[in-house]
Protein backbone atom coordinates (compact mmCIF):
# COMPACT_ATOMS: atom_id res chain seq x y z
CA UNK A 1 0.00 0.00 0.00
CA UNK A 2 1.35 3.39 -1.01
CA UNK A 3 2.38 5.69 1.85
CA UNK A 4 1.79 3.08 4.54
CA UNK A 5 5.34 3.78 5.78
CA UNK A 6 4.40 7.44 6.36
CA UNK A 7 1.31 6.45 8.37
CA UNK A 8 3.43 4.04 10.39
CA UNK A 9 6.08 6.75 10.97
CA UNK A 10 3.46 9.30 12.12
CA UNK A 11 1.95 6.91 14.68
CA UNK A 12 5.34 5.63 15.83
CA UNK A 13 6.85 9.09 16.34
CA UNK A 14 3.65 10.46 17.91
CA UNK A 15 3.34 7.66 20.44
CA UNK A 16 7.10 7.77 21.01
CA UNK A 17 6.79 11.45 22.04
CA UNK A 18 3.88 10.65 24.42
CA UNK A 19 5.75 7.70 25.90
CA UNK A 20 8.93 9.74 26.49
CA UNK A 21 6.90 12.50 28.12
CA UNK A 22 5.21 10.01 30.42
CA UNK A 23 8.58 8.44 31.28
CA UNK A 24 10.03 11.84 32.27
CA UNK A 25 7.01 12.50 34.53
CA UNK A 26 7.32 9.04 36.13
CA UNK A 27 11.08 9.50 36.67
CA UNK A 28 10.72 12.99 38.19
CA UNK A 29 7.85 11.79 40.41
CA UNK A 30 9.91 8.87 41.66
CA UNK A 31 12.92 11.16 42.36
CA UNK A 32 10.73 13.59 44.30
CA UNK A 33 9.20 10.80 46.40
CA UNK A 34 12.72 9.64 47.31
CA UNK A 35 13.67 13.22 48.18
CA UNK A 36 10.58 13.58 50.39
CA UNK A 37 11.48 10.39 52.25
CA UNK A 38 15.05 11.65 52.75
CA UNK A 39 13.90 15.05 54.04
CA UNK A 40 11.31 13.50 56.36
CA UNK A 41 14.05 11.32 57.85
CA UNK A 42 16.15 14.46 58.51
CA UNK A 43 13.37 16.27 60.33
CA UNK A 44 12.55 15.67 64.00
CA UNK A 45 9.69 13.22 64.61
CA UNK A 46 6.16 14.60 64.50
CA UNK A 47 6.85 17.02 61.63
Amino acid sequence: MKNLDSVFAAYLIGWGVFFLFYLTIAKRTSDLRTEIERLRALLPRGK
Binding site: M1, S6, A9, G14, F21, Y22, I25, A26, L39
Partner: protein, 224 residues
Protein backbone atom coordinates in the same frame (compact mmCIF):
# COMPACT_ATOMS: atom_id res chain seq x y z
CA UNK B 1 -3.40 5.59 43.54
CA UNK B 2 -6.00 2.99 42.44
CA UNK B 3 -8.01 5.72 40.66
CA UNK B 4 -4.89 6.82 38.77
CA UNK B 5 -4.13 3.26 37.69
CA UNK B 6 -7.73 2.80 36.51
CA UNK B 7 -7.63 6.11 34.60
CA UNK B 8 -4.29 5.14 32.99
CA UNK B 9 -5.61 1.69 32.02
CA UNK B 10 -8.81 3.18 30.55
CA UNK B 11 -6.78 5.78 28.62
CA UNK B 12 -4.44 3.13 27.18
CA UNK B 13 -7.33 0.83 26.22
CA UNK B 14 -9.17 3.71 24.56
CA UNK B 15 -6.17 4.82 22.49
CA UNK B 16 -5.47 1.22 21.40
CA UNK B 17 -9.14 0.83 20.41
CA UNK B 18 -9.08 4.17 18.56
CA UNK B 19 -5.92 3.17 16.65
CA UNK B 20 -7.62 -0.12 15.71
CA UNK B 21 -10.74 1.74 14.58
CA UNK B 22 -8.65 4.20 12.53
CA UNK B 23 -7.02 1.34 10.60
CA UNK B 24 -9.66 -1.38 10.44
CA UNK B 25 -13.10 0.21 10.89
CA UNK B 26 -12.84 3.59 9.16
CA UNK B 27 -13.20 3.27 5.37
CA UNK B 28 -10.31 4.25 3.11
CA UNK B 29 -10.57 7.76 1.71
CA UNK B 30 -10.90 7.71 -2.11
CA UNK B 31 -8.41 10.38 -3.20
CA UNK B 32 -5.66 10.17 -0.56
CA UNK B 33 -5.80 6.47 0.23
CA UNK B 34 -4.11 5.04 3.32
CA UNK B 35 -2.22 8.27 4.22
CA UNK B 36 -5.56 9.88 5.19
CA UNK B 37 -5.64 7.56 8.23
CA UNK B 38 -3.18 9.95 9.90
CA UNK B 39 -6.18 12.31 10.10
CA UNK B 40 -7.64 10.55 13.17
CA UNK B 41 -4.42 10.72 15.19
CA UNK B 42 -3.40 14.18 13.92
CA UNK B 43 -6.75 15.95 14.45
CA UNK B 44 -7.53 13.93 17.62
CA UNK B 45 -4.23 15.13 19.13
CA UNK B 46 -4.96 18.70 17.97
CA UNK B 47 -8.40 18.77 19.64
CA UNK B 48 -7.06 17.24 22.86
CA UNK B 49 -4.23 19.82 22.79
CA UNK B 50 -6.74 22.67 22.46
CA UNK B 51 -8.76 21.20 25.34
CA UNK B 52 -5.61 21.06 27.48
CA UNK B 53 -4.93 24.74 26.67
CA UNK B 54 -8.55 25.53 27.60
CA UNK B 55 -7.99 23.86 30.99
CA UNK B 56 -4.78 25.91 31.35
CA UNK B 57 -6.67 29.11 30.48
CA UNK B 58 -9.41 28.41 33.06
CA UNK B 59 -6.77 27.53 35.69
CA UNK B 60 -4.89 30.76 34.89
CA UNK B 61 -8.05 32.83 35.29
CA UNK B 62 -8.85 31.08 38.57
CA UNK B 63 -5.33 31.70 39.86
CA UNK B 64 -5.54 35.42 39.08
CA UNK B 65 -8.92 35.55 40.82
CA UNK B 66 -8.37 33.26 43.83
CA UNK B 67 -4.53 33.15 44.17
CA UNK B 68 -4.55 29.49 45.17
CA UNK B 69 -1.50 27.36 44.34
CA UNK B 70 -3.55 24.43 43.07
CA UNK B 71 -4.65 26.52 40.07
CA UNK B 72 -1.03 27.36 39.26
CA UNK B 73 -0.17 23.63 39.39
CA UNK B 74 -3.12 22.82 37.12
CA UNK B 75 -2.10 25.62 34.74
CA UNK B 76 1.47 24.43 34.27
CA UNK B 77 0.41 20.76 34.06
CA UNK B 78 -2.16 21.34 31.34
CA UNK B 79 0.14 23.74 29.46
CA UNK B 80 2.87 21.09 29.33
CA UNK B 81 0.46 18.36 28.18
CA UNK B 82 -1.08 20.71 25.58
CA UNK B 83 2.41 21.52 24.33
CA UNK B 84 3.31 17.84 23.93
CA UNK B 85 0.06 17.19 22.03
CA UNK B 86 0.70 20.21 19.77
CA UNK B 87 4.25 18.95 19.16
CA UNK B 88 2.75 15.68 17.90
CA UNK B 89 0.37 17.68 15.68
CA UNK B 90 3.31 19.62 14.22
CA UNK B 91 5.19 16.35 13.53
CA UNK B 92 2.32 14.28 12.10
CA UNK B 93 1.02 17.19 9.95
CA UNK B 94 4.10 17.42 7.69
CA UNK B 95 4.28 13.59 7.47
CA UNK B 96 0.72 13.67 6.10
CA UNK B 97 1.30 16.79 3.98
CA UNK B 98 4.39 15.65 2.12
CA UNK B 99 2.86 12.84 0.02
CA UNK B 100 -0.37 14.82 -0.51
CA UNK B 101 0.85 18.41 -1.12
CA UNK B 102 4.38 17.60 -2.28
CA UNK B 103 5.78 19.88 0.47
CA UNK B 104 6.48 19.38 4.16
CA UNK B 105 5.45 22.82 5.32
CA UNK B 106 3.98 26.12 4.14
CA UNK B 107 3.40 29.35 6.06
CA UNK B 108 -0.38 29.45 5.63
CA UNK B 109 -2.72 30.80 8.32
CA UNK B 110 -3.49 27.43 9.99
CA UNK B 111 0.07 26.11 10.08
CA UNK B 112 1.54 29.45 11.14
CA UNK B 113 -1.02 30.08 13.90
CA UNK B 114 -0.44 26.53 15.22
CA UNK B 115 3.33 27.07 15.22
CA UNK B 116 2.83 30.41 17.03
CA UNK B 117 0.63 28.60 19.57
CA UNK B 118 3.44 26.10 20.17
CA UNK B 119 5.95 28.96 20.61
CA UNK B 120 3.62 30.77 23.03
CA UNK B 121 3.35 27.77 25.34
CA UNK B 122 7.11 27.10 25.12
CA UNK B 123 7.49 30.75 26.25
CA UNK B 124 4.96 30.15 29.05
CA UNK B 125 7.09 27.29 30.39
CA UNK B 126 10.36 29.21 29.88
CA UNK B 127 8.95 32.21 31.72
CA UNK B 128 8.34 30.00 34.75
CA UNK B 129 12.02 29.05 34.87
CA UNK B 130 13.07 32.73 34.90
CA UNK B 131 11.11 33.89 37.97
CA UNK B 132 12.29 32.47 41.31
CA UNK B 133 9.71 33.87 43.70
CA UNK B 134 6.77 31.45 43.76
CA UNK B 135 3.79 33.83 43.93
CA UNK B 136 5.26 36.21 41.36
CA UNK B 137 6.03 33.28 39.02
CA UNK B 138 2.48 31.97 39.35
CA UNK B 139 0.90 35.36 38.70
CA UNK B 140 3.14 36.30 35.76
CA UNK B 141 2.74 32.92 34.08
CA UNK B 142 -1.03 32.99 34.64
CA UNK B 143 -1.27 36.40 32.98
CA UNK B 144 0.91 35.19 30.11
CA UNK B 145 -1.18 31.99 29.83
CA UNK B 146 -4.36 34.06 29.48
CA UNK B 147 -2.70 36.03 26.69
CA UNK B 148 -1.36 32.85 25.00
CA UNK B 149 -4.84 31.32 24.84
CA UNK B 150 -5.96 34.15 22.54
CA UNK B 151 -4.22 32.24 19.72
CA UNK B 152 -6.49 29.17 20.16
CA UNK B 153 -9.59 30.72 18.51
CA UNK B 154 -7.28 31.98 15.77
CA UNK B 155 -6.05 28.42 15.10
CA UNK B 156 -9.67 27.19 15.08
CA UNK B 157 -10.86 29.95 12.75
CA UNK B 158 -7.85 30.05 10.42
CA UNK B 159 -9.26 27.47 7.99
CA UNK B 160 -12.73 29.01 8.22
CA UNK B 161 -11.85 32.68 7.76
CA UNK B 162 -9.00 32.47 5.24
CA UNK B 163 -8.14 30.42 2.17
CA UNK B 164 -5.32 28.12 3.19
CA UNK B 165 -3.19 25.27 1.87
CA UNK B 166 -4.47 23.29 4.85
CA UNK B 167 -7.78 21.54 3.98
CA UNK B 168 -11.07 23.20 4.91
CA UNK B 169 -12.78 21.88 8.06
CA UNK B 170 -14.75 18.63 7.80
CA UNK B 171 -16.25 19.09 11.28
CA UNK B 172 -18.22 22.27 12.02
CA UNK B 173 -17.27 23.48 8.58
CA UNK B 174 -20.69 24.63 7.40
CA UNK B 175 -22.45 23.72 4.16
CA UNK B 176 -20.69 21.34 1.77
CA UNK B 177 -18.35 19.97 4.43
CA UNK B 178 -18.65 16.70 6.26
CA UNK B 179 -17.38 13.19 6.79
CA UNK B 180 -18.57 9.71 5.92
CA UNK B 181 -20.73 8.56 8.91
CA UNK B 182 -18.31 5.74 9.88
CA UNK B 183 -15.33 8.09 9.59
CA UNK B 184 -17.18 10.57 11.81
CA UNK B 185 -17.82 7.95 14.50
CA UNK B 186 -14.17 6.83 14.44
CA UNK B 187 -13.05 10.46 14.55
CA UNK B 188 -15.16 11.35 17.61
CA UNK B 189 -14.10 8.13 19.32
CA UNK B 190 -10.44 9.07 18.71
CA UNK B 191 -11.09 12.58 20.09
CA UNK B 192 -12.60 11.00 23.22
CA UNK B 193 -9.65 8.61 23.58
CA UNK B 194 -7.07 11.40 23.15
CA UNK B 195 -8.90 13.59 25.67
CA UNK B 196 -8.99 10.82 28.29
CA UNK B 197 -5.28 10.19 27.61
CA UNK B 198 -4.54 13.93 27.95
CA UNK B 199 -6.56 13.97 31.20
CA UNK B 200 -4.46 11.11 32.53
CA UNK B 201 -1.22 12.94 31.67
CA UNK B 202 -2.50 16.16 33.29
CA UNK B 203 -3.32 14.27 36.51
CA UNK B 204 0.15 12.66 36.55
CA UNK B 205 1.84 16.01 35.87
CA UNK B 206 -0.28 17.74 38.54
CA UNK B 207 0.84 15.19 41.15
CA UNK B 208 4.44 15.93 40.18
CA UNK B 209 3.86 19.65 40.77
CA UNK B 210 2.24 18.93 44.13
CA UNK B 211 5.25 16.80 45.17
CA UNK B 212 7.63 19.64 44.16
CA UNK B 213 5.70 21.90 46.51
CA UNK B 214 5.98 19.33 49.31
CA UNK B 215 9.76 19.11 48.77
CA UNK B 216 10.01 22.93 48.98
CA UNK B 217 8.17 22.97 52.31
CA UNK B 218 10.26 20.11 53.76
CA UNK B 219 13.50 21.76 52.58
CA UNK B 220 12.52 25.01 54.30
CA UNK B 221 11.68 23.12 57.48
CA UNK B 222 14.97 21.20 57.33
CA UNK B 223 16.93 24.43 56.89
CA UNK B 224 15.08 26.22 59.73
Amino acid sequence: MAKRIILGAVAVLLVIASAYASFYIAPEERTMGVIQRIFYFHVGSAWAGMDAFLVCFIANLLYVWRRQEKYDWLGVSSAEVGLVLTTVVLITGPIWAHPVWGIWWTWDARLTSTFVLWLLYVSYLLLRTLVEEQDRRALLSSLFGIFAFLDVPLVFGAIRWWRTQHPSPVIMGGQGSGLDPTMKKVFFFTVLAMNVFAGFLIVERYILEKLKHEVDILQREAEA
